[in-house]
Amino acid sequence: MSRIRFTRRLPAAVAAAGLALAVAACGGESSNSSDGATAAAAEELKPNADLSKQSLQVTVWDGYTPKELPEKAKEKLKVSEVKVGLHATNEEAMAKLTASGDSGIDVAFVSGQYAQALNEQGLLEPIHAELVPNLANLYPEAGQLSYDKGNKYSVPYTWGTTGICYRTDLVKSVPTSWNDLLKPPAWADKKVTMMTTERWLALPALKLLGYSVNTDKDEEIAKAKELLLAAKPHLLAYDDTTFGDKLVSGEAVMVEAWDGWCPTTEKNIKFAVPKEGSDLWVDTMVIMKSSKNKEAAHALINYILDPEIHSWAAENINYKVPNKAAMERVKAPEGSLLGIKPAELLDGESIIDLGQASTKYTRLSSEVTAQS
């Protein structure tokens, strides 16, 4: 079905592929392609397909890519249209991507473990490396990420770690342990926020207990849950999006934060990775199998990996990008965390999808937020 629509939307592209391809892709398959009977698992993509017949729909976190990306990409790639939809959390993105057979989305930005889960559901198109020459700009470490070794179906966009973001002028002692967040001292009572987004809700508790962030053992998760529930009455709120604002306004004095969203460029705000260790998270770009614009999708990813574009994320949202050529262009502003080297980042434990056991974390998150 999607195959038929694909070819119908791309008659010109098929024609343009011409004799050369028909000969190269020998056998009966290509002779049938005009009536849509090709049944290859990995699609044959055409490096010089006519992108002006393709349009792109992207879903990404709010403020995570340059505002003018749609227009710039449209102009540069000569695609007919680039539309950007927004999600607030990974879960929202997953809800959009899995709610229907074809979400209409071509390129999605999700964290590594979600990319892995989407791939296991067979929803992702493998990355055709030959269509993304700018992959060469990435650090070698970026190909070593445990949720997708070798970047087979995802391309890293940003990476970093999770820690405690705090106000130097409002804390009486510098937080050094996850314990400071989970059992806040009296001066921080009701002035602490934590995240609810599944795996990052559990992270502080799991790390404090010395467990893996990828544990699937029921008793370990249960212990973490106890800690999280005990912490709940001392929280100002759960917050996945505006913890930085709460810190700037002084409503909160310590928050669980991803490094890039900790506004360390403001004065009096610093970021600490607790001594028990933390994670290495990666936000990735993936291409949906249901996309009818796969050539354009690859072209967009390649365009984003261009050092000039990719360095935007580092310069404007203070997230480290796994792009060596881009990072070399970036001048790290005062106080920023961009100086952390990729090798140091890899000290953090990479969050991976746990298959059936992931539901334990989903459930943990529901139960912790529901407990009164």
């Binding site: 959390t89 879960e91 929202e92 997953m94 809800a95 899995t98 889960a117 989407l118 296991e120 559901q121 009701k190 609810t196 599944e198 709940k232 929280l235 100002l236 709120a237 759960y238 917050d239 996945d240 709460k246 306004s249 002084g250 409503e251 298959g355 059936q356 992931s358 539901t359 989903t362 459930r363 998150s365 529901s366 139960e367 937020t369 529901a370 407990q371 009164s372």
Partner: protein, 288 residues
Amino acid sequence: MKSEAKARPAPRVRGRRLGAFVFLSPGLTYLVVLLLVPLGLVLSYTVFQRGRFGGVVYEFTTENFTRLIDPLYLGVVGNSLRIAALTTLIALLIGYPTAYLIAQLPSRWKTLALVAVVLPFWTNFIIRVYAWIMLLSGPGLVNSALGKLGLGPYELLYHEGTIVTGLLYSYLPLMVLPLYSAIERLDPQLREASANLGASAFTTFRKVTLPLSVPGVLTGCLFVFVPSFGNFVIPEMLGGSKSTMVGNLIRDQFLKARDWPFGSTLALALIAVLVALLIVQAWAARRA
């Protein structure tokens, strides 16, 4: 057309059938496809399982219901009941005198007073909630005013009371309007007669006005309770993302946890509570 109709034996019956078909079928089809089928799907999902990645696996289970009666989730349902009931009660307590006074204003002021109650309702719902964040948050205006008096700052957001305030602010007009129309419809002569017979204003109110305005009270309570009970935006924005109400829980099951079967089960519980309430309301209205 005329002669054609005459040629047929029973034009009225035929006409009625045709009429029923022409007028009823489009709307009913729409209702069946977009209301009954979806609700049927939701109902059926309550006995199936969540797939590994979300979605629904069509294998029978009663797990969703055992999970629902877990004190944790029942507690949330109870919480929502309490919050919605409290909101309704406060709305009634301040809405009734307001509606009562409006009904007795001279007619040109009456319209103005009524429009003034409804007007805030016409601004965007989210913006109305946002106004309270501005007022109540840590550096917000209430705290800075208190600060000038040497008090605070207090943590005013993220309490149950904040949620009640937000709900009240959003739905108070829905209480005042039905109350007003119930009170306004009362015959003023009844009250005058009561006063002439020597009853005090309070007795008149208690014996005449109040009993006769019960239908309006019931409608107003229903109008405030229903949207409060199923709300998720206000508890989320003013309550700090803790799932304090069943609406948050349902929202989270669909848009976060992707556990549609359990989300459907919670929705069924929500509907059940409301249906029970409607039955009570209908019963009370008949007695009134």
